[in-house]
């Protein structure tokens, strides 16, 4: 009994940072994009914090909620795309890396992507960036967002098969 209790104590619980410090938020906005606004350098604090928006389940779960709340679904569906392009097919018009996606959400892109700089905080844009990158699951991830509590329309994040053309029977 005691041994089990000790073993459980040894487990490291994933930290949830519920509120970033204002100076950290400022620093997180400091991406260094390439001249064409695709790809670039991550803010140093992003890596210093241990890249929480890439591998912290809480942050990815928050991103998933924002994806629903901020009308991303209206254009991108649950990742499969509609009037906007798919986010799960491994093809990115403006780059697949975190800086590109962060810039896409913050500043918008030509051909229809609106800017969310005035609608989301920097922290929220990073949470959303992290979640968008888990949707396609074309690379192994150590963290996954929370489970779906709505209509199941595709394989769960991080459980999806590789992004190749798959002929699945329609949902009945």
């Amino acid at each position: 009994m005691l041994l089990i209790a000790l073993a459980l104590l040894a487990c490291k619980r994933e930290a949830r940072e519920l509120r970033t410090d204002p100076p950290a938020t400022d620093a997180l906005n400091g991406v260094v994009p390439m001249a064409n606004r695709i790809n670039g350098g991550l803010p140093r604090i992003f890596i210093a914090q241990g890249s929480p928006y890439e591998n912290n389940a809480y942050q990815l779960g928050q991103g998933k909620r924002l994806y629903d709340w901020f009308n991303c679904k209206g254009c991108h569906a649950n990742g499969g795309g509609a009037s906007g392009p798919a986010l799960t097919d491994g093809r990115w018009r403006y780059g697949p890396d975190p800086v590109s996606i962060f810039l896409t959400i913050r500043d918008g892109r030509p051909h229809g992507m609106p800017a969310f700089a005035n609608r989301l905080t920097t922290e929220q844009i990073w949470q959303l960036t992290g979640y968008v990158r888990t949707m396609g699951a074309y690379s192994a991830q150590t963290a996954a967002p929370s489970r779906n509590d709505e209509m199941q329309s595709r394989p769960a994040e991080n459980r999806a098969p590789a992004a190749t053309e798959i002929r699945m029977p329609p949902s009945r």
């Binding site: 629903d68 679904k73 798919a86």
Partner: protein, 575 residues
Amino acid sequence: MFAGLRPRRMLLCTAVLLASASGFAVSLQSSAASDIDVGNVGGMTLRLALPIRQTSGSAGRAIFDHDRLFVITPFPHSVLALNLARTDASVLWRYSPRADGMAAGLATGHVTTDGAVLSAGRLFLNTFDGHTIALDAATGGVVWDVAMADVERGETLLVAPLAIDDRIYIGNSGSDFGVRGWMAALNAATGRMLWKRYNAGPDVEVGIGEGFSSPYLPREPDLGVTSWPANAWQQGGGGLADAPIYDAPLGLLIHTTGHPAPMNAEQRPGANYFTSGLFARDALSGDARWFVPINPHDLYGFGAAGSLIPADIHWQGNNRAVLIHPDANGMVYVLDRSSGQILSAHPFLEVNASEGLDARSGTLRGNPAKAAHVNSTTRDICPAWPGATGGTARAAFAPQTGLLYIPVSRLCMDMEARQASFMPGTPYMGANLRIKPPRDSNRRGALLAWDVAAGRLAWSADESLPVESGVLATAGGVVFYGTLDGWFKAVDASSGRPLWQFHAASAIVGQPIGFQRADGRQYIAVAAGVGGAAGAVAQKEIDIRDATAARGYANAIRDLKPAATDGMLYIFSLP
């Protein structure tokens, strides 16, 4: 049975056309005058195949006038004027308006254009990014260009203008973005706005006052405000759902209104007037004359989509001026044009979202088991959100057979309503949608022939994919329509018997037209190019592993491949 060209010969023919110096060249000269009819349509051959540099849906209706053919391509638009008097049908002029690229992200459903309209030597067109433009038909020069819709808010102009006398009528689209719908009249000479009336809001803005009457509405002021939660009408949608029509003897402009926003109906308790209905307005003043609520408190985003067809028919012993309206909700309505009274309403295919018409209120009795609720999924709602017909699928009525030819989708859907937040310029939807094919997925669409007087189905021609093209019914008793798998078909108007077919390079969602040249010979023209609501699966970066992709079409249409070629314009005639 098909006396049309064999595929191999056709391929060779097309190859020759494309290889020629001007891109296409087949003689348009003809020898004998002839009319296309049931007996000879089987021998119809291709006369011209013109590549249109655009892969997305060519839904527009080409316009024929004095041996010129005007073609408008989808967004970003180009207008072409072709000279049919020359054997190579050379381009007289080409006009490409400056396009606002942001509009490309707003094209939910049909990423198409509806075409232009020609009146008094001028060509009037609506651009998807919100401009109404008048061109000199002889030169292609811009006469005027006015910005009518704000793309930043998700507002677009999807439906072609209507030209009557010296006035141009236009209506906005953007119900999916919570844009408040309106109808406006412009001065054809200058582009100056004569009036603008909204489809929701206070009576003074809707144009309701003296001279308005409707047996189907409560007699209360400001229904466009009181039938909504506080201020919800301001972002309540209701833009134009389909092409308006004009009744000259009555001086009435009759138009549809689109679906209310958001799609999640629990967020907007009330009847949500005057969305999802039919409006008749005085064409000169814009004042409302009557309104018929077709889908009040629209649960499924149908709007009142579907063609408006004026007809003067023999109705129960009398000659009557009626309006025939096959609606997205799966019913054919026959209304009196002067009063808006519903004379009959029958379902033209199997529906379970509604259980027949309530004659007193003029609206359908909803099926409570198929209502959508927040955070719960309602399964197998028929028809699905794009509607049983409507959009690019335009019906035609043939007076000589008394039949209405309706291009239909036989699709159902699962719908989960979600709380939607309104942010201008982003979709105001609040729904997870998953469209389902019928059990027999080889009959997802059809062309139906509906006997209007008898209120029953005369015949049907099943199609594997939803039929999204317009229908052309000719005086010769032939009905033309196109399919998403690229067939352009001619069938017998009275029996539906297949008479002729042609395989196009891409899906057909356009409106076929027929015209007669000075030599007396009849021609049929149609544009190909995948598009329409269902065609979205094939033309955007869509991942069908997500069943809700392309508004749920990804679940029902997995066999439509992106077109390998540009859009094409085809012209046919008898040899």
